[in-house]
Symmetry: C2
Subunit: 268 residues, 2 copies
Amino acid sequence: MGNIRTIPSQCGTVSDMDARSPSPPSPWLPFASRRRARDEKREAVLRMAVALFLEQGYHRATLNEVARRLNITKPALYNYFRGKDEILFECWAIGNELVDDCIAETSSGGGSGLDKLRKLLLLYAELMTEDYGKSLVRFDIRDLSEDNRKIVRTAKRRIDRAFRDYIAQGIADGTIKPCDPKLAAFAIAGSLNWIGHWFQPDGAMTGKAVAEEFAIRLTEGIATTSKRKKADKPPGTSKPSREDRGEHHARTAPRAAGQSKRTRHRLR
Amino acid sequence: MGNIRTIPSQCGTVSDMDARSPSPPSPWLPFASRRRARDEKREAVLRMAVALFLEQGYHRATLNEVARRLNITKPALYNYFRGKDEILFECWAIGNELVDDCIAETSSGGGSGLDKLRKLLLLYAELMTEDYGKSLVRFDIRDLSEDNRKIVRTAKRRIDRAFRDYIAQGIADGTIKPCDPKLAAFAIAGSLNWIGHWFQPDGAMTGKAVAEEFAIRLTEGIATTSKRKKADKPPGTSKPSREDRGEHHARTAPRAAGQSKRTRHRLR
DNA sequence: TCCGTATATTACCCATGGGTAATAAATAGT
DNA sequence: ACTATTTATTACCCATGGGTAATATACGGA
């Protein structure tokens, strides 16, 4: 019946949406040999859902379409999730765990406040170029249940605090110029979050390249010592190498196992 | 029947929505003496709509609710607009005209590239603290008709170009350090656009204060000469004066008259 | 005072899409 | 093989909300 078509798009500084990741594969063969690990399929639903939600927007995306792209039908999804909003929440939750990984990795490594801030910037920025990272800033908290909304708000505060703490720490140890940590964090996080709105993997720069550029640029203004890798000349306007980009740091793979903490509702 | 309640909220660095402007007044008296200028009422619909769209999100907000808050009924709205998506577009269009004003004001005033960039930053940032400004970055382009979508994309490119041009100009005249104008514009605009996501008028800072802070901070990193108004001490973490905030620069009032150019469809 | 126009209202249509009930197919265990 | 369990399917329900048709009310002008 309803034949939905994908929508064109384009980047832009002010806003503009739409991220067409090449649409993840499905573990469901077209109505034939089934029975693979439950978690694997649950995972596949989320990967497909997050891609579709980003591509079309949560409200325009239908569960029918999510299911169709997985070679199954809508009611099958209810074996793994309570409803659409729970799928949205789980997508967000995965992104949130990835951010936690970033923070943990940053905190464990030593260095000055500025060093840590730069490290977090780098990891966070790169995350913003991936689907689950984008879900953190593109999804609307108001689409969630009241309970999940509370969880999200708490998590956001945690992330915010990480940025502010590093800045405050940098001011204390003299690597960052005196400034208001709150506002500085807002300014920096704003830039980073916006990456999730304009970055498209098929652009001129890789996610890693964008992340590295932003990590330097956003700390130039508040660092007490300037630090440019390649002299002061205009940094090559693009790093089109695109090299490997394989396994930049624990991601996707390790996720499959050990769904870990949080309110992971096991159904039935 | 359906009794909709407003939703709680809170700011946050990562995302978080919801802007509760005190809900604009309605020119429709509760089903009594009517007949005021048509444009005035059209304007009122847009003001109420933009506030509701920001408060609840476009898809959750209903035309019934827009109408109810205006003391009218849904079909009455169709005297002024073709449909919901056109209302959304018109909200965006007003915001866009305000940005154009910012650019025009900046371009007309002289100064170095850095001066112009700072000026535009200041005006743009302040705009992001207001409803129509927020609509530029919070509304989803995919909710528009194909025609209007094209218009929006073109306009966004124009704005983007303004930022890049000033940066390039600054590099040329030596007031801005050599850098990639495209990425620098993305970083700056990202910070500014994000204001539209977290700023709430009832917070600790006024829109003007936020704008001034960001205008300085975001140019510190790329300026060839540092420029801090109040020495280098931590700038008062808040400017709680809240003074007048009256008529910061042509806005709202002048808008009422002369709907001006663009595809303003006169109905019937 | 009566009419025409603009602008409301009430009452409805209906497409969309989230969600559910009943049932069928596949697999694992014994 | 037979059965229990999981995991699909088909067929349906129904609340929501954008949009429309028919009609009523108010106002300006002659």
